[in-house]
Symmetry: C2
Amino acid sequence: MGLSTAYSPAGSRLATPPLGAAATARRRSVQPLRPRRHHLLATVRCSVDAAKQVQDGAATVAAEAPASRHAECFGVFCTTYDLKADDKTKSWKKLVNIAVSGAAGMISNHLLFKLASGEVFGQDQPIALKLLGSERSIQALEGVAMELEDSLYPLLREVSIGIDPYEVFEDVDWALLIGAKPRGPGMERAALLDINGQIFADQGKALNAVASRNVKVIVVGNPCNTNALICLKNAPNIPAKNFHALTRLDENRAKCQLALKAGVFYDKVSNVTIWGNHSTTQVPDFLNAKIDGRPVKEAIKDTKWLEEEFTMTVQKRGGVLIQKWGRSSAASTAVSIVDAIRSLVTPTPEGDSFSSGVYTTGNPYGIAEDIVFSMPCRSKGDGDYELVSDVLMDDFLWERIKKSEAELLAEKKCVAHLTGEGNAFCDLPEDTMLPGEM
Amino acid sequence: MGLSTAYSPAGSRLATPPLGAAATARRRSVQPLRPRRHHLLATVRCSVDAAKQVQDGAATVAAEAPASRHAECFGVFCTTYDLKADDKTKSWKKLVNIAVSGAAGMISNHLLFKLASGEVFGQDQPIALKLLGSERSIQALEGVAMELEDSLYPLLREVSIGIDPYEVFEDVDWALLIGAKPRGPGMERAALLDINGQIFADQGKALNAVASRNVKVIVVGNPCNTNALICLKNAPNIPAKNFHALTRLDENRAKCQLALKAGVFYDKVSNVTIWGNHSTTQVPDFLNAKIDGRPVKEAIKDTKWLEEEFTMTVQKRGGVLIQKWGRSSAASTAVSIVDAIRSLVTPTPEGDSFSSGVYTTGNPYGIAEDIVFSMPCRSKGDGDYELVSDVLMDDFLWERIKKSEAELLAEKKCVAHLTGEGNAFCDLPEDTMLPGEM
C-alpha cells in the first residue's frame, strides 16, 4: 500500500489536511474573491450544448478573472428567475444546494429525479443540483441534465455539471457521494479500499475547502464506511458528525424479510438497526426490532431462522436480485438514499429509530472510537441526529458487532496513508463485499 | 400485410370484438364465477421465490377450481392487511389497481417507483401494481418486484406479476401500456405497425374482457397513436374516450425549448399543444403557446426559428440524448407519463391545457374522425377530459396538422386487419419514427 503523506496520532482528526501538490494545483481556482456564477451570468447564456458552453464560458471569463473552472450551469437552468416575484413560489424556502457524485450512473439516474420531484425535501423547497462526473462521463452527464430539463420540475431551479469537486461542491448543503470505481475482476477489497479511498480523500479535501460549513455528506460508494472515514478525516473543518455511510438499503431489506417471515405488511416493522460495516459482517439486529410495537421474538418464534437465515437472506438479497434482473439494485438503492435524507430532515417517529453509518466518537455502546459504524439514530428533523441510548444487548448480538468492529479497524489500518495516521498496513483475510454490489 | 379477420364499416367501432381462436383459448380462465385472488389467499402464502409460488399456486388451485392462471401476488405483497384497522391509513381512499405492461423495461423501472411513492395519485391513495411481462422477462419482473418490496412504500399494498393480459388486467382502473417490440435493424414502420398492432389488439381484447368498465388506458409503446386506435377498436365495451397515446414528452420538450429560446424559466411556458401523431409529422404548436401568459410570438421574435428549428429541435431531442447518454430517455419518459396521469386526476389550471393523443370523434377542429390524434385537452380532475374549443388556427399550423392527419389515416389503413375494418393496405413512403425511439 502507499506511503503516508502526513502523520497525526491515531484517534485524532487531522489538524490540517494533508494537501498534496496535486490537490493544491486543483485548488488554484478556489479564491474567496473570485466572481460568483450568477455574477458571471449577468447576461443569460443558454445552450443545449453544455460542452461547448463550458469552453465558451472559460474563454470569455479568462480575460476578466483568473478563476474560470466553475461547474457550469446547463441549458435552461442558466436562465435567471426570481422566486419572490411569483405568487406560487414566493412562500418557498431558501434554495438548497445538493451535489451528487457518480451523477451519470444508474443510482443517480433514479435519485436525481426523486430529488427534483420534491418527494425528498418537500414541495416548498427549491433545489439546485450539482452533478459531479468524470472526463469519461461528461457527455452522459449532459444527457442526464437534458432529461432533467425535459422533466420541467418546478422545484428544480438550477443544474450544473462538472468534473472538479472543488467546483461542484462549492457552497453545497448536501453531498451525496455515489460515484466510486467498480471492483474489477479478481480485485481484492484491499485494492478497492486504496483506489476508492483516494477518491474520497480528494472529495473530503474539496468539501473542506468549498462546501457549506454544515454540509451533510452521505457516502454510498463502496466500501462506504471506510470511504466515509477517509472523507471526514480529510475535511477537519466540517463536523465529523455530518458524515454518513449508507446502510439504509440493508435496513429496508431486513424490515421486508422480517415482515415476510411474520406474515405482516412491512409497515408494521420498526426499530430495525443495521450495526457495523456495510459488508457481510453487518449485523441486522432482531433483538431490538419490533413488529406491531412488540419484540420480534414474540411474533417470530423460529429462533434458528432469526439467528442464521435472516442475516444471510438480507445480505444475499443484492446477489439474488442481480441474478434475476441482470443489473444491480439501482432503484431501491436510490429509494434508500431518499429514506436516509428524509430521516435527517423529518422528526423520527416516537419510539422508532433508523440506521446510519456514523462516526463513533463518544458512542454509548462501547464500540471502538474513531471509525464509521452503523448504529441506531434518531433525528429532530434538523439535519442532525442523536444515537439511541436504550438498546438491548445480548452476547449473540455483541459478538457479531465486535466482528464487524474488528473488520472496520482492519480496514482503517489499510487506509492510514489516506487519513494521515501513518503507514498503511493491510490485512483483510476475507472477501466481505456484499453479493451484487460493485 | 395480413388479411382482415372481420369487417365493419370504416368509421364505426366494432359491435363485437373479432376474437380469434387464439384469443378464445387465452380467455379460458376468464370466468365470472371463478374464485377471486383474495379468497384463494385466505391463508397467507408468502415466498420470495414467486416463480415457484406461481407453480405451487397453480398446482394447489387446479384441484378446486378450473381457472388457475391468475397473476400471482409477489412476496410480502401476499400478506393480508386492513387499512381500516390502522389510524394512519383508515382515512385513505379505496385501492386503485394499475396495470403496467413492459414492466421489466427501463421506462417502467422509473415509473413503478413513482407510482408507488404517491407522487402521482397522492399520499392518501393506496395502489396495487399489476406487472405484465413476457415469458422471457419473468425473472426480471421478479427482480423489479423485489426492489419494490425493499422500498417499503406504505401506499403500495399489492404487487402481482404475470404474462397473460387476461389475468393481469383484471379489474384494473389504469392500464399503462409501455411494452412493445423494439424495431429491429432495417425494419420499416409498416412492419412495426403490424407486429406491435397484434400486441395491442390482444391487449385491447383483454381489457375489454376483464378490466374495470371505466379503465383509463395510456399507450406508450410505438407507434403509439395507431396502437391506441387498435387497442380501443378491440375494446368496444370501454369508452373510446378512455384511450390515450402519450405525446406528453413531446409537449414537455417543446416547453423547454421555448423557455430556452425566450430566456425564461420553463414554469413560465403554458398552452403548448402537440398536434397529431407521435412521429416526425407531429406539430408542436407555437401559435397558441404562451410565455408568461402572452403569445409566444411576443416573446420570441425569431419567426424563422419558430417555424423551422423549433419543431426540428423537439423532434431530434431523443436522438441527441441517445448519442450523449447512450440510452433512450427512460427517466423523462416516465416523468411525462406521470404528468399525463396527473393531468387527468387533477384539475387543469385555469386557462391552460395539456396534450394527449385521443380519439377524434366529434372534435371541433375539423380533423378526420376515427383516428387517435394529439390535441389540446383540459380536465376537471375526474379522470376524464374535454377538448379545448378556443384555439387559434392559421394556414401554417393547419397544413402541418393535415400532414400528420394524412399519415395517421395511412397508418390506419395498414392495420385494418387489426381493427376489423377490412383488408389492410399499407403505403407509408417515409420513415417517420422519432430519432432515439424504439
